[in-house]
Structures are given as C-alpha cells and as structure tokens.
Symmetry: C2
Subunit: 392 residues, 2 copies
C-alpha cells in the first residue's frame, strides 16, 4: 500500500454535541508514557480517579469506576448488569438515547416499556408513577440530559421517588450533564448513573464514568444468570477495581490518565462554580443565537445549558449550515438527531468550550455563515448580544 | 476531598506481557487535539487506519476495524458476533485465554468444548480434527500466541484446514503476535482475528484490531437473534465503519490517532523486517536469561518471540523478583498466569521494547536482582550473552 501521511487533523473548534474542546493539560496527560495496568503506582491512579469521579457525581458509592470504552459501553454496562433476563425496564420515549436504552434492555434479555413523551419535552414524574403502577418494572431508565434534543430532566427526585415507591432501581444517563449541570446522585436517589468523557468533562472519549449504589450492586452480585457481557460484567470488574486489584482485562491506561486530569481540573475549579460557568456562557451563547434569528426547540424550563437545539432562520437546512461552519470556519456544530435531524442544529457549550472565546468564535462564524446562505441579518448581532449578556 | 497531585507516574521500562514500550510518535499522536468522530477529516483517518490494519494482518477483509475497547472487547466482539445461541465453539485448553474464549462463548448463549492440551504446549491439529468430528462445532477458537504461557501455535494452516473440512469458522487470538510474529490471516485461512494495541503494536490500550472475512460476516448479518451486545454488534458497527459512515457510538478518537501512528511505524519498518527484529532481539534476550540460570518452560519449536516464560534459578519465587525489578530498577516483568502463576516469570520483548537498549537494561537489572536475592551468579553474564548473540 502507499505510505500514509503524518497525522495532521484540522484544527476545529468543537462546539457540537461532543467531543468537546479539550484542556491542554488533559492532552498532555493523554500523551504520558503508560505504566502497567497492575503496577501499584497505577492502582494509586485508579484510586484517585475513583475519588474524583465520586466527587463529580456527588456520590459515596464505592462502585464508581471508569468503564473501558466510550459512553455507550458504560450505558451497556449499566443496563446489562442491572437488568436480568425476563425483567422489565421502563425507558423514556422523549429522545434518541431512551431508545438506545430500550435496545440494550432487550439484548440483556429483558423487556423494555417506553414511557411515551414527545421529543423535546421532559418526562412527567406522574407518567413515570403511572407506568410503574401498570408495568411493575425492575429498573426505570431516565435520561438526565438528552443529547438528541437538548432537554434537561428537571424533576429527578420526583422520578426516583416514583420508581422507589414501586421498588424499582433508577438508572440515569448523565452523559451530557456530568460536570456541567447540577447532578446529585445520592441526594436525588439515583441507583446507577453513567456518563462519558467527551461532553462536559472535556476529556476525549475512551473511559466512561459508571456508578452503582450498594443496593443495586447487591442485585448484580445476586444475579442467577451471568451478565451477557464478560467484558462489562461488574461482578468480575470488582476484582480489578475493588480491594483485590486482580487482573480482569487491560485497562486503557492513557485514557484513565486523561480522565483523571480532566476530573482534577473540575476539582480545582469547584463543581458548583463549574455549573455556574456553564449556565453563564451557555446563556450568552443563546442570546447570541436568538439575535441571529434562531429559534429554540425546547421550553426554557427544560433547556440544557450544555446543548442547545434550535431551528435556523429562513427554513435553512441544518446540513448545509453545519458544513459551511466546518469547511469555511473550522467550527463543529451538528444537525439534530432522530426526530429533529432535518429540523434543527445542535450547538454545544461544554467544559473547556464553555468560555468566552469559543462562544464568540462560534457566534461570529454562524453570523457569517447565515449571511453567506442569504439570510438577511447583521452577522455581528450574535457576538454583540452575547457580550452584552455576559456584561449583565 | 483533598486535592490530587499532578500526574507523575514512575518511568518504568515495560518488559512484561503488556503494555509494552511506546514510541514517542505514538504518544504525540495520543495527545493530539481530537476532532469529531463524524468529521470527514476523521473518516479519512478511519480509512487509513483500516488500510494499515489490513496490511498488518495480511488480509484483504473489508471488515477490518479497531474495536472501541481493549483486547478483551475485541475478543468479545469476535466471539459474540460469530457464535449464535445454541451453537458450539471449540476452544483450546492450553492456556488462560482459551478459557476466556469459553466463558465468552457461554455468555453468547453457545456451548464451549475444550480441546484438552497441557499448558505450555501448542494444540495438535489432529486433536482439532478429532474434536471437530466429535462435536461438529460452528466455530473453532485458536490462540496464535498464548500470553499466559508464551506458546506460539505453529500449525495454523493445518488447524484451519481441519476446521474448514467440518464447515466451522476459525477465530484466532493474535493479541501477542500481531506486528511482532508472522501472522498471515488470508493465506492461513483464518476467518476472524482480533488483537490489542499494547503488545507488539506498541500502542497504549483502548482501540483493538478485529478482522472478519466476508463469509464470516455473512453469518453475522444472517443471525436470527441479535448479538447480545449492542456496543459490539458488527451489523450496527457496519453503519459507522462501512460505506454509510452514520452514527453508532462515539469512537475513541485519540486512541485511533495513536493506533494509526503505531501502524504507520510498522508500515515504515516493513512487517517482515519487524518480525525479524523481534526474532533477533528476543533471541538475544533468551540467551541472556539462560546465562543467568533461568530455564525455559516452552519447547523451542513453540516459543513465542514476543513473550518468554521461564523458571527462576534456585527456586526463587516469581513475585519477589518481579517486585525487586519494579521497585529497585523500574523494570516491569510479570509473574506467570494461571497454571504457571507461582512457577514462572513472563518477560516480554515486544514492539518498541524489542531493541538493544531495553533488552540489555532488563538483563542487567535481572542479573543484579538475582544476585541480591542470593543467587550465586555473575550478574553481568546475561548482558554479555545477549551482546554476543547479537554479534553473531
């Protein structure tokens, strides 16, 4: 075959639904020479990473680990361990990732029942309560931050209460919320939660947070049938991440270096300060988007700070705008997903991207892009509105 | 919680069963800012990585991808896709990883039948033929390079012939051989093969090679029951790695950057030259080990160049020697695994570690270590023997 050139990816600003911008310190950690996955010095790195994960998830769960794969692997680990063949899982019907939960539940040998809710809206806790009464589920899945629609689930404690009243465990997707938006695992009564690196944690994908309460872990350890995945079986992973530190599989050492550094940055900033930063800069980004004529898909009470779904002015096709942003301005935003694929764009404001520079660069490029596509606006209106919002 | 210190892992020389030494260019690629997993520029990186994987595996299989996880994830993808519930898989009984294959086969809903062979010896193709006749398997698993014992399977074409005569697919573990030892997927008639980055490819773990022939992929696409893992379902991954390039899960972008660079180094060196380099430096390493009084576990005809299993002189406990090597000399070697856990050490000679410097440093440290543990040898005998072997 021909020779392959030096790796020279374009220098994109990542303001889509993830991967997000990465802090230079995280990249440096990524490129650190690995040590062995059973080296006592690496065990220390594992311990520290677990402590930092607990802090970020606001949990005391001993069972808090990075899964050796991307976010969907953590999701599959959560569903596949917690749900046994023949059991029932409720999943939300208001977005793409509830559908993925259902698919995983079926592959775990369980049954999935969808709580029907329109895309772009959060679940109503009363619907969860009614579905629990009707279907007697073993697990209730909830997506705290729907990456496909930009919807935040505002009523987490009410949902966990409804599920617990029916003795069901609650499994929460916090892929696009962890580290960017208030998430309180223990206080809210969430039994299992998973996330990913490449959203608000601002860490390239490959090692993904998972936390399981003692009660949920007891269910996992009491299973009659083994988990259908050996790789993701928590009862086996216990040997590696628990007290024993015995070999199960080779951990992705450098991904854990990077995740640890990303979590360390969160610790230094302070989690509450970080939530506030996401709120502030995503608010400014939105003011800029509205000033450019975009229209929100999601009602204010359920909007995710980390991801905005919006319709373009003049009926512009999302795909064309996404392409111009990427090819002409090196800024990544994305089209919608699922029901919103042809209707909306998705613009992220996550982690290291939730800052003045990335927000203004995105709005400036978008103003020029819309203008180039024939929309009659002031291309600078977006950046001006954002700066004014930040100045308030 | 307390603050967590800067990441400062010790500077170990990695000469165990993996992770192996990493080339600086691979680390630099790891630390390159990511772009989006659906970016056309990343699709190009994917294409190049697939081409390089095909070259390294010596295959034309279209279905050649890096799995988004470590080697065990690639193994589970291979077993879980190829084997359907109710089907039978033959697995080798001569090492740890054949046992893992059996475990995964059972979790896929299949039956595993072990071909009994002593640890430390290769399979006899006639035993495979007899087991095929007796059990009529759908899949025959074979471990080309047993990381637990240091055994190379020398008779791959005879094994695939025996399996194909009974219409079974052959699934080969080449975790500790790919990129270091002759492996010819198409010529040998291997239907599915998987590997890992952190052995002879010298790439930190996290994205792991998998290749499947058209015939085997046809079986996967014709399955009645869906694969039990959504994350590893090749019929879904086809959408992302195939023509369509549609979203399935977020790929570990930086791991693929690094794997591409590691494969590019192999392309530059030339695969045959690389096999020869492994042969030459592992040969020198072994001469050094024998000069220090270690004794081989495996017969010459089945010894893996990339990994040597050896008993220590004077009945020394492997654990104590491994610890001294690590703590006093910053050299990682490992104890045996499974049947050899308390009997032998495992010393790797893989990828960027298969060079003069690492071999001599290892032998020098081992000479001093054995001497410190009271073995009456010339501590310099190992390095002298290695240099003499290289000089021949």
């Amino acid at each position: 075959m021909d020779s392959v050139d030096e790796l020279q990816p374009p220098d994109r600003l990542l303001m889509g639904p993830g991967p997000s911008e990465t802090h230079p310190r995280v990249l440096r950690a990524f490129g650190t020479p690995p040590i062995g996955h059973l080296d006592p010095a690496f065990v220390e790195v594992m311990d520290e990473t677990q402590d930092l994960l607990r802090e970020t998830l606001r949990t005391d769960n001993e069972w808090t680990i990075p899964v050796s794969g991307t976010g969907s692997a953590a999701m599959e680990a959560a569903v596949g361990n917690l749900l046994e063949p023949g059991e029932t899982m409720l999943v939300p019907g208001n977005g793409y990732f509830g559908g993925r939960m259902a698919e995983m539940a079926r592959r775990a040998g369980g049954e999935a029942v969808t709580i029907e809710t329109p895309w772009g809206e959060p679940l109503d806790p009363e619907d969860v309560r009614a579905a629990c009464a009707e279907h007697d589920p073993d697990v209730v899945g909830v997506v705290h931050a729907e990456t496909s629609t930009g919807v935040r689930q505002p009523s987490m404690p009410a949902i966990t209460e409804a599920a617990h009243d029916h003795d069901a465990f609650v499994l929460a997707d916090c892929v696009t919320s962890l580290g960017g938006i208030e998430f309180r695992m223990d206080e809210w009564g969430v039994d299992a939660a998973y996330s990913a690196g490449q959203k608000c944690l601002s860490c390239p994908p490959g090692a993904s947070p998972l936390s399981i309460s003692d009660g949920a872990m007891e269910k996992v350890l009491d299973r009659e049938d083994p988990v259908r995945s050996w790789y993701l079986d928590l009862s086996l992973l216990e040997g590696y991440w628990g007290e024993e530190r015995s070999y199960h599989h080779t951990a992705p050492v450098n991904n854990i270096y990077a995740l640890r550094e990303a979590l360390r940055l969160i610790h230094e900033e302070g989690l509450v300060a970080r939530w506030e930063r996401h709120r502030r800069f995503s608010g400014a980004l939105r003011e800029g988007l509205w000033a450019l004529g975009l229209e929100p898909v999601v009602a204010p009470s359920a909007r995710l700070p980390s991801l905005t779904t919006a319709r373009l002015p003049g009926g512009l096709a999302p795909g064309a705008v996404v392409e111009t942003m990427r090819e002409e301005h090196d800024v990544e935003i994305a089209t919608g997903l699922g029901a919103f694929a042809d209707e909306a764009v998705r613009i992220g404001c996550m982690g290291h991207g939730a800052r003045r520079g990335p927000v203004l660069e995105t709005l400036g490029a978008l103003g020029e892009t819309l203008s180039a596509h024939g929309i009659d606006i002031d291309p600078g209106a977006g950046v001006a509105a954002a700066v004014n919002a930040l100045d308030e």
